[in-house]
């Protein structure tokens, strides 16, 4: 019996690539050649495994052994020990934060438990630059089924029945969106893929495009067939060079294989896809702004209606879906609406990809069924809070989302629950904060982003967000009053209520949710002028504990402004009116004599 061919999979996502995974891959090939193993072992560069903080990741099959933090220098050992002798390289196996438990296979990893990969099904599994691997993993099978067995309305019905909702932030029923675009008759219609992933820290769309570009191309063609469009456009930010390169390659291969272009699979259906580049404006993720940007106009939104389904790109009916939404399409077609609808909660079906970031142990990309609780995501999959600190808040939905508190940890995550809790699903960013984070500063941080990224078209977003940011700044400097908190809240409500597009309608969410869930912290800032987390510089005071100070003078010598005085071997004193709160003294002190109050 022929020996099962061994495969070495190396993550080729952006994060691992940044950490020299390409050199690891090259070295592996050289090392295998040197040992005449190149015909027995296949080296594959895949898309993202989602284990970004552990990268570069190398996985060896059969056995599914995962090696973490693999450097080019580790290659020789992997080949000589694992490939040639069948012995695991212990030192490269995953260790949990406590350092005690080692996991050797992918399944054993705590981060992989509870996950269900539909969108990311092929990421970390196939070589994204090889269409044959994609086809071997069912790519274009759904397209074939649709073109040969189904009518447009049949496809739309399946998508509607599946309960799939847009993953870009709005959560609108995808099937319904397709149906509206289908019903608007025109000589030309367009399918647009929104790959303008703009939430800071979110990279699920990028990972799908890098790891499994064909899943999106296929779904766009299916959508085109369903709404009777023959042209597709992918709007992707130019800052995603690897995703763009893989998309281009995938497009080329799909055309070569007759899976895009004229008369696809002999069905008579034509569908072509072009790539359009964005310059990275956050607001261009809003579909009307995105369309204007593609038309060569200023990237700013217009009032809906008319919706793109009536009048979109070049005034023609246009269906815009996000990358993650498209990535769900083929499995729904192949496995059926019932299968998809059986996953998730009552009104939110399927899975959701989250980009875990912040003070969490397992930073990276995860995919879980809708309805998974925040606690499961943060503590089981995410491995809990870094350095054993206490959980304080989780920000979902990027800068437009809200900060959820401890009381929300057991809420099943879905579109409606998150909205009800004052946040939103958004595109799936999930930033975890611990006890050291000041929630007023967190709100200010997100506002800073929206102030930068507002297009400037409507007054509440253009000016209102700036005013919110200024007032938060005022509060973090200890200059705010209780009345300011009411004003803050009113401004937030008006900005949400009057802004033209989703950006302004959601930009106050970080402020409103922190005001709601962490009001005490705001009150401390404005009444007793203290920042409980000790983050707001203006509200801190450095103080020397007399009993601990030995009078070594180290602090006085490092102080850049001469704020510390004291005789040698006598307790020192900080003059708060001179102190600039740089923290140098505290860092220098070996006796824990300096504290912040």
């Amino acid at each position: 019996m022929a020996r099962e061919k061994m495969q070495i999979l190396i993550c080729g996502g952006t994060s691992c690539s940044d950490k020299q995974s390409e050199i690891v891959s090259d070295n592996l090939k050289l090392e295998l050649e040197a040992n005449a193993l190149e015909n027995d072992v296949k080296v594959v560069r895949t898309g993202c495994f989602g284990l970004c903080n552990l990268g570069p990741i190398v996985k060896i099959t059969p056995g599914d052994v995962i090696y973490t933090h693999v450097s080019p220098d580790d290659v020789r050992e992997i080949v000589s020990e694992h490939i040639m002798k069948g012995q695991k390289v212990e030192r490269l196996l995953y260790k949990d934060p406590s350092g005690k438990i080692k996991s050797s296979t992918e399944k054993e990893l705590s981060v992989k438990k509870k996950q269900l990969r539909i969108v990311l099904r092929n990421c970390g599994v196939i070589d994204p630059e090889n269409i044959e691997e994609a086809i071997a993993n069912d790519a274009y099978e759904a397209l074939g089924k649709v073109l040969t067995e189904m009518k447009p309305l049949d496809v739309i019905k399946i998508i509607k029945d599946s309960g799939l909702r847009g993953r870009g932030g709005g959560g609108f029923s995808t099937g319904l969106k397709w149906e509206i675009a289908y019903k608007n008759k025109a000589d030309q219609k367009y399918v647009v893929c929104n790959a303008d992933e703009g939430d800071p820290g979110a990279f699920m769309d990028r990972s799908v495009l890098e790891g499994d570009p064909h899943s999106v191309l296929e779904a766009m063609a299916i959508c085109g067939y369903s709404i009777e469009a023959t042209k597709g456009l992918i709007y992707i930010r130019a800052e995603y060079p690897l995703a763009i390169a893989r998309l281009k390659k995938a497009l080329e291969q799909a055309k070569e294989y007759g899976l895009l272009g004229k008369n696809i699979m002999g069905s008579g259906f034509d569908f072509d896809i072009e790539i359009r580049y964005g310059a990275g404006a956050f607001v261009c993720g809003e579909e009307t702004a995105l369309i204007h940007s593609m038309e060569g106009l200023r990237g700013e939104p217009t009032v809906k209606p008319p919706f793109p389904a009536e009048s979109g790109f070049m005034g023609k009916p246009t269906n815009v879906n996000n990358v993650e939404t498209f990535a769900c399409i083929s499995p729904i077609i192949l496995k059926g609406a019932q299968w998809f609808a059986s996953i998730g909660t009552e009104k939110s079906k399927g899975t959701k990809v989250f980009a875990l970031a912040g003070k969490i142990n397992n930073v990276g990309l995860i995919e879980v069924p809708m309805g998974t609780t925040l606690r499961e995501v943060i503590f089981e999959i995410g491995g809990g809070i870094r350095n054993g600190k206490k959980f304080k808040a989780a920000q979902t939905g990027g800068p437009s989302g809200g900060c959820l508190a401890e009381k929300h940890l057991d809420t099943p995550i879905d579109f409606d629950n998150l909205t009800a809790a004052g946040s939103m699903m958004g595109s799936g960013g999930l930033i975890v904060m611990d006890e050291d984070d000041c929630m007023v500063s967190v709100a200010k941080f997100f506002l800073e982003f929206t102030v930068e990224e507002s297009c400037g078209k409507c007054a509440p977003c253009r000016i209102g967000n700036k005013r919110l940011h200024e007032l938060l700044e005022h509060i973090t400097k200890g200059k705010g009053t209780l009345a300011d908190l009411d004003r803050l809240k009113n401004m937030c409500h008006v900005i949400k209520d009057t802004s033209l597009c989703g950006l302004g309608q959601s930009s106050p969410n970080p402020v409103l949710s922190t005001l709601e869930n962490f009001r005490g912290e705001y009150e401390d800032h404005v009444t007793i002028k203290k920042c409980p987390a000790g983050k707001c510089k203006e509200l801190m005071e450095y103080f020397i504990i007399e009993a601990n100070c030995v009078g070594c003078t180290a602090c006085a010598r490092i102080c850049p402004v001469g704020a510390i005085t004291g005789e040698r071997r006598e307790p020192h004193l900080i003059n708060p009116s001179i102190c600039i709160k740089c923290g140098a003294c505290m860092e220098k002190c070996k006796f824990d004599a300096i504290i912040i109050q």
Binding site: P305, S454, C455, G456, A459, R467, K496, D497, L500, Q505
Partner: protein
């Protein structure tokens, strides 16, 4: 017509499908305040970015407030226009806008005529909470020969951008930067002077605040009026008399010709003349040129280009020099009436009164901001002395009159001075779209056919439609005439000329929608197209009431040719009354 029934503030109203909530509310007598939205209904101009969010209303069942200016009525809709929620939102948004606007009302050029100011008043804003910590978005001031841009006062209503791009297709202004620093500016943030701007002034005409204003030349005029060594004469364009009264509370369309003359005399001008005189002169020159080119063209002369295009509008001249320099031999070479007047005043008239050129100052009052630039063009001066020294707008004149403690309402009528104050009805209608070509037809017809024209009112050439055409029978020769007002409309006709598809013999172009009555220097219409219509009607009325209505019958024009110029298009006429055009296409040079 399909209609829709809805409820606004508990009252039911039925409107045609497609009507906006704002317009439906108007039917019920509910005036929802608007700020960025503006329309000139009869001219097909509408600005609706839905950006200011002042006109928001509450619609039952909708999560957010909706802008009433663009939200269309739907069957059964229940709308509330002044709930606590709406009023609070409207006020808060207004506070936002004002928080980023200089509090310089006392010294602002727009004070008293500012839409933001009156809206703040209407909404009862008496203080700005948090003003002390509110930063302002600032931008450098930009002064061009005609227009001052003070973007600190810009509220991003985008009206100027809409006029410049959609209506005028000039493309000099568009939104730049993002968020709080967003502004409307020329490409690459160049100064207006280095952009494709034609100085048509339509951006100024629609700007609700003091962000876009004209360069004020009254101080220079005050200085020369006070100088005993200078003889200062003034010429007033036809469109002034139909609009100036508005600045003194008179009904739009009130003709104030006589009162205006009295006022100008009271201001100290030594001679008060009429640009209409020069308009008659323009007809003589342009009409002759038309007939000459037409005759040569009909005789098979390939060098005679048809159609001929009018050239009295300086915004239009700037436009084709920028966008159609390849066609610069198509327009008539006749100078504009303003410049013809200056050329005659500083030669013929100066000689007549025995004043040297350098001691004679010619001031023009124009409905136009491009005229300020035009009189500064190098080719219109002799040894650095301009034919027309200064040009002020209708608005500047009104302010000037007020400065001299005069109330136009209480002034007696008086007559223009001779000889450059005499004019015919033909020249009066220069001030409205279609008027120049109608005046030209009256003269050209009689000259060409040798017959007396029976019918003087060519109503087929009148109206506000953007592009109009008519065929006039010149004794068996069907003369095809095209008219365009607004540069976007002109562009359409010009594209046809460029591609050789144009069937017109003569085309009149006015840069401003409505012609000079809607000029960038006129009293602000604030989106009321009825005002423009009333001004046009006033000019046709004055024409009708004039004893002489054909330019070639103006006795002083006849005398001018006899005494000074010889014949129309004579060598001397060419030297003084004709000009040439330049390729002014802007080139962007990227420094390596």
């Amino acid at each position: 017509m399909e209609t829709i029934k809805l409820t606004i503030d508990n009252k039911t109203v039925e409107v045609p499908k497609g009507t906006t909530i704002n317009k439906a509310a108007k039917k019920l007598g509910i005036d929802i305040p608007v700020l960025c939205w503006m329309e000139l209904h009869d001219l097909g101009i509408e600005n609706k970015p839905a950006g200011c969010r002042i006109c928001v209303v509450e619609i039952q069942g909708r999560r957010n407030l909706a802008p009433s200016c663009v939200t269309k009525c739907e069957e059964g809709m229940i709308v509330k226009t002044h709930t606590t929620r709406v009023l609070n939102a409207r006020r808060t948004v207004m506070e936002f806008i004002l928080s980023d606007h200089p509090k310089e009302c006392l010294t602002c050029a727009k004070s008293g005529d500012c839409e933001l100011q009156s809206m703040a008043h209407q909404l009862g804003i008496k203080e700005l909470p948090g003003e002390e910590i509110a930063a302002m978005s600032t931008y450098r001031k930009d002064t061009s020969p005609s227009i001052i841009r003070d973007l600190d006062k810009c509220i991003m209503c985008r009206r100027c951008e809409m006029m410049c791009n959609t209506i005028q297709t000039v493309g000099a202004l568009s939104a730049i930067n993002r968020g709080f620093m967003a502004a409307v500016a020329p490409a690459f943030e160049q100064n207006l002077e280095h952009s494709t701007c034609t100085y048509c002034g339509q951006c100024v005409a629609v700007c609700p605040t003091g962000a876009l204003t004209e360069v004020d030349h009254t101080p220079e005029i005050l200085r020369v009026l006070a100088d005993p060594t200078k003889t200062v004469i003034v010429q007033t364009a036809p469109a002034i008399r139909a609009a100036l009264g508005e600045m003194f509370g008179m009904e739009p369309g009130t003709l104030v010709t006589g009162k205006m003359v009295t006022a100008l005399r009271a201001l100290g001008f030594d001679y008060v003349f009429d640009t209409d005189f020069a308009a008659d002169l323009t007809i003589m020159e342009e009409g002759t040129e038309l007939l000459d080119r037409l005759t040569r063209h009909l005789n098979g002369d390939k060098t005679a280009r048809i159609p001929i295009l009018t050239s009295c509008c300086p915004g239009w001249v700037n436009f084709f020099e920028e966008y159609f320099p390849d066609l610069k031999d198509v327009p008539s070479t006749s100078k504009s009436p303003q410049q013809m007047f200056g050329a005659i005043a500083k030669t013929y008239f100066a000689d007549k009164i025995g004043v040297s050129r350098k001691d004679l100052v010619v001031v023009s009052v124009m409905p136009c901001l491009a005229k300020k630039y035009e009189c500064q063009r190098e080719e219109f001066s002799v040894d650095g002395n301009r034919d027309v020294d200064f040009s002020i707008s209708t608005r500047e004149l009104a302010a000037f009159i007020k400065l001299a403690n005069l109330d136009l309402n209480n002034l007696e009528d008086s007559e223009f001075d001779a000889p450059l104050g005499e004019s015919t009805g033909a020249s009066v209608i220069f001030g409205t779209t279609g008027g120049v070509i109608e005046a030209a037809v009256r003269t050209a017809y009689e000259v060409y056919t040798g017959k007396k024209l029976e019918r003087l009112d060519f109503t087929e050439l009148r109206g506000f439609e953007g592009v109009r055409s008519a065929t006039i029978d010149f004794n068996g020769l069907p003369l095809n005439i095209g008219i365009a007002h607004g540069l976007g409309n002109a562009r359409k006709l010009l594209n046809d000329v460029r591609s050789g598809k144009s069937l017109f013999h003569a085309i009149e172009v006015m840069a401003c929608p409505g012609g000079c009555i809607g000029g960038g220097g006129q009293p602000l219409h604030h989106g009321k197209s009825d005002i423009l219509k009333a001004r046009a009607a006033a000019l046709y009325k004055e024409d009708k009431e004039k004893p002489l209505r054909k330019s070639h019958e103006n006795p002083f024009i006849i005398k001018l040719y006899e005494e000074f110029l010889g014949k129309p298009n004579s060598e001397k006429a060419h030297q003084l009354l004709h000009t040439k055009y330049f390729d002014k296409k802007k080139k962007i040079i990227v420094k390596q």
